[in-house]
């Protein structure tokens, strides 16, 4: 059963006189209980896609396309319906829990807030549920009257997860849930998240620039570059046998322990992520940095072509008339 179907999602930011196209014509689907990872460098548009699912982008962003959540188009919903969907059906675990939590209210109040809003329960019942949620994420229920600054980074992230699960949503979006946490805590948080999601049968979209994290936790993987999905498919096969040069570069950059820089930059890939205002409308945006680019790349219209079972890639080389990537690399 399809939980989420995104079609032709396009997001343009209007800043002053400039128009920046941050997300270009993105399609993907997610079934109930499935986990999808979205990978990419900063500026690839992955966070924008996530925020657009609940229409959380600023007013300066123009969003077109269709976001069919449980059959209904989020972009066409009225405000009342949208607010009802927010958190109760689809919730978000934001990155940087220190600033994503209100500094002057206790964490107990903040977790209870959506419960009291969406469900018709009394304060006491909500409090009981808060305790249960805190328990599930491994935070002592006694901390419910603590303020965010009194908790450690890992505990705060757990609170964010507890908060996201508060109304038993059908889909959780985790936006860089482990950035700024040290490696050990990161592993704990990831395990926690995936266990909870699996146990409750919730769908999850996880966003990260860290491919290794996504490979471990998600069934399917989508790689984004310059606002487009360049490859999507089962995560294992995407890592082991990538059919797009960008994914290849990313996947050969598994982090070395103790080297935070390696997490952020694909190894051996020269250049910087493209400036969203300067991406060409025609051809493949990865051409300037691609090690196996050829003459057709800058001009040939690009779309996602089938590249194996249940997967597709936006590289010309998956088409039969051109040399495959493996062949191009070996020459």
């Amino acid at each position: 059963m399809t939980l989420l179907e995104v079609r032709n999602l396009d997001v343009t930011y209007h800043v002053g006189d400039k128009a920046v196209r941050a997300v270009r014509d993105v399609d993907f689907t997610l079934d109930a209980g499935q986990t999808l990872g979205v990978a990419g460098e900063s500026g690839s548009g992955k966070s924008t896609v996530a925020l657009s699912l609940l229409r959380l982008l600023p007013n300066s962003a123009k969003v077109t396309g269709e976001i069919l959540f449980q059959g209904e188009d989020v972009l066409a919903m009225g405000w009342g319906k949208l607010r009802a969907v927010r958190w109760a059906q689809m919730s978000v675990v934001f990155q940087g829990a220190m600033s994503a939590l209100n500094p002057v209210r206790t964490i107990g109040e903040q977790i209870a807030e959506p419960i009291l809003l969406h469900e018709k329960v009394r304060e006491r019942a909500a409090r009981a549920r808060v305790d249960e949620l805190l328990d599930n994420v491994g935070v002592s229920a006694r901390r419910r009257s603590a303020y965010p600054h009194e908790l450690s980074g890992g505990q705060r992230q757990r609170v964010m997860i507890a908060m996201a699960m508060a109304c038993r949503p059908n889909l959780i979006i985790a936006d860089e849930p482990t950035t700024a946490l040290d490696v050990i805590v990161q592993a704990q948080i990831l395990t926690l998240l995936t266990d909870l999601v699996r146990e409750s049968g919730i769908g999850m979209i996880m966003i990260s620039h860290d491919l290794s994290v996504l490979a471990e936790t998600c069934e399917r993987l989508a790689v984004m570059y310059a606002g487009e999905i360049v490859e999507i498919g089962p995560s294992r096969s995407l890592i082991d046998d990538s059919q797009h040069p960008y994914t290849r570069a990313l996947s050969s950059a598994f982090p070395r322990i103790g080297d935070p820089a390696s997490r952020l930059a694909p190894s051996g890939l020269p250049g910087d992520p493209p400036d969203p205002t300067e991406v060409a409308e025609e051809g493949c945006p990865f051409t300037p940095r691609c090690p196996v680019a050829f003459d057709a790349c800058p001009t040939h219209p690009i779309e996602l072509w089938p590249a194996g079972e249940n997967r597709s890639s936006a590289c010309l080389r998956v088409l039969p008339e051109y040399e495959s990537i493996d062949q191009a690399v070996s020459t």
């Binding site: 934001f94 994503a100 209100n102 600054h149 009194e150």
Partner: protein, 351 residues
Amino acid sequence: MTAPNPAQLEVARDVGGGAAPGGERTRSTFWRYLASKLITALISFLFTLVIGFVMFSIMPSDPVHTLTRGRPTSAAQMAELRKELGVDLPRWEQFLHFVNQVIHGHLGYSYQLNQPVTTLIAERLWPTILLVGSATIISVLLGLWLGVRSGWKNGSLFDRVSSGVSLTLWSVPTFWLGLILLVLATSTFTGLLPSGGYQTPAVDYGLVAHWIDVGKHLLLPCLTLVLVVFAQYVTIMRSSIIDELGSPYLLTARAKGLRDDVVRRKHAFPNALLPSVTLIFLQIGGIIGGAITVETVFSWPGLGYLTYEALRTPDIQLLEGTFLVFSASVIVMNLLADILYRFLDPRVRAQ
């Protein structure tokens, strides 16, 4: 005394396992905090005394002559006065003498009004508190209400109109506005509102009627003061809200499905209120200035009017007395601001 910089209040660093401040630890740090603030306040007051002393002693003429100008005084009385004022002592001792007098509540004698300064001040204290207090409360409420809404819908028509009106009102001299209102009251709306004073003279009202009478007299001066002062609070609150606008926790609140006004009321407002509280208290200096001129215009018998009367001769001792009282009240307000802030912000409490 600076308002706490929001950057200074940034998150306490992460402590592994999370710090859990026990009740006792918070209480003892509170007393230490209070003590340090009190000491700072006392030093500020000492500085005020120094400035007051220095200022009033650069009078070119002999103080005794100035005080007794135009009044027949015998040589013995002059000598007595000299001794009381400590005029013949060297500067240092004069200062200590002066401080000693102040601590004991002797602020001098007003020859113009023929009463000790302290008595005069005590008499006129309540009307000023009434005026300044009511004006402040109304201005703060009005300013907060307008400021929050203006800042939230930054750039909207409401915001621009509100900012424009605030800016214009700030440019208006307080007393001039009062005079205009006074002219309107006396000529156009004759009889409806009194033209000055605290209460209708020579009439004996019952308790309720008395307060209504005072209220009628309070209306115009209070209105004048509010009109000029509330603009500052609008600006303060508006800036605070604008500073909060980009905060991530507001995004979380929206994502939870809360309505826009609920997000503003329950999340943005409490956070924006914190820095505003201190700034609001710090405005008291400006309100005092406004009170002086407003009381003058409406003959409101408070400390401000007393100051105006002191300017006539000029009555130096009275002037010095009011200066000290005004300065002291500003210091007290700053102290209250610091203490209040500590109570309100959970992050500061932990320090």
